[in-house]
Symmetry: C2
Subunit: 326 residues, 2 copies
Amino acid sequence: MDKRYYFGIDIGGTTVKTGIFSAEGVLLEKSEIATRTGQGEEAIFGDIAAELSRLAHANGAELSECAAGIDIAGPVDEEGFMERGVNLGLDELYPARILSDMCGGMPSFALNDANAAALGEIWQGGGRGVSSAVMITLGTGVGGGVIQGGRVISGTHGLGGEIGHICVEPGEEELCSCGGRGCLEQYASATGIVRMARRVMAESEEYSGMRVTDPLTAKDVFDLAKKGDALAVRAADESMDRLGRAMAMICYVTDPESIIIGGGVSRAGEYLRALAQSKMEKYARLSKHYPKVVLAELGNDAGICGAAKYAMDMTAKQIEAPECGR
Amino acid sequence: MDKRYYFGIDIGGTTVKTGIFSAEGVLLEKSEIATRTGQGEEAIFGDIAAELSRLAHANGAELSECAAGIDIAGPVDEEGFMERGVNLGLDELYPARILSDMCGGMPSFALNDANAAALGEIWQGGGRGVSSAVMITLGTGVGGGVIQGGRVISGTHGLGGEIGHICVEPGEEELCSCGGRGCLEQYASATGIVRMARRVMAESEEYSGMRVTDPLTAKDVFDLAKKGDALAVRAADESMDRLGRAMAMICYVTDPESIIIGGGVSRAGEYLRALAQSKMEKYARLSKHYPKVVLAELGNDAGICGAAKYAMDMTAKQIEAPECGR
């Protein structure tokens, strides 16, 4: 049955963000609690259940009128199973089942954090109004979420949208954290951009503001590039070139309406967006028309927004058949 | 309204294959006529309309009881529009509208040839029973079709499933026909495999049966590889390594249940299938679980099968809302 309220829960390694939304999609209240990692699932999910109870009552709701979406880092398969809950120090778990059991059977649904952000952005953010999109989150790592027909594609084995591990540079010698070589994450994540900057500096004698910035961050690289610092321009170009390759590959798989770029690195704004768009067009040569590259708009709220929307979609899905009178 | 019969029409540059299927999916009759290219759309589609009339009457059907799916080479967008109908020498056309107008308004739907093959294979071929699959067709070129939730993803700009132009080798110097460099097609198509073989031979002094085979075909390369010819083994390995890269990228976008390998090159059979599977696993390191790599089974009938299934799905889609009593 449709519910009157939807929780969006974004479980991170440090804090859990929660939000309660009306059925119309209005965020009524949000909060943040510490994540008690390393103390087992009872500690983490018990804290969340208590916080949801508090939020519900503060907003005049009963848990029986609610459904919850859980946004969590790492692959979640179609059954809601996680092999590895990296951030939580937990393995082999069904996060939604645990929460549901602690909340009197409240319908609960888990999805990957990047998928949640993608769903949030097409619902209320930079991708508003489109039904197919791929979101690429440039943060410490590179995550992604694939939306088709308004729905998240998490994939058969939970690998859907793991854009960060697309191989964009088969000749790379350094290893990625996944064990592969040449993953997008090695070039376009915050750390990847700094790695590119160091490589560009090592290959040149030229002066650059990057040489006197310590510690050097991805933000510094883009800030200097915008000011015309030649080596920073080259580093940004090298990083975005690899991002453009991955985006062109995405065009050749699902060809979405929009590609949404989010994560901390995307604060570099229009400079980054325009560069990524032109690099994508350089590698996707088959058509005169391309996905629109847009910036994410929801920032840290994308996760709770998308998780709540997922709970909304999943509860609606469960009633599709009876609604048709069959 | 659901129809009693479905035509599958596979328009190639030389011949048009047609089949009439019962609503239960039984192929009642198939036929093949010449494609009158270079004489405008009236010639090509007029011939097809006449053949459909003949097939209908021979099988006791009226055109008003039929719907048609048209399988055609080149990108077809969501509206059924084609910028370029390469094989037909026609540009900017809506193939399904033309045919429908010539057949008294018979519901007609066009889709890309590789998408049609993919749909055919999950309906009655190597991908039977799965709801998400990517088909990769290794022929003169490399085509692809993406199926998600049982439906074809043709993409917003018709680029969905253009797997052959995924960049797998950014350092490549030779140009692909699309204007890009390092496209999968340059390595894993029939001509790409021969190109790899010539490259391997040029880099070595070693004897190989490939050196005394003229003309050398992709089939020869795989036949010799199966017999242990060292350079042929290396050429097959190089080609399938690039295919594995593209397949790993596909895992990281939609993560389908199956990846179906079809096209003439796939006749190399289990040797090719197993090699492609192991290369995909080499590049997709995030999970212990992967899509199943299977061989296509329908051969030349995949197109008419998939086109008929598309017509079936599209007519069913059009009646979804009224069926629910809304």
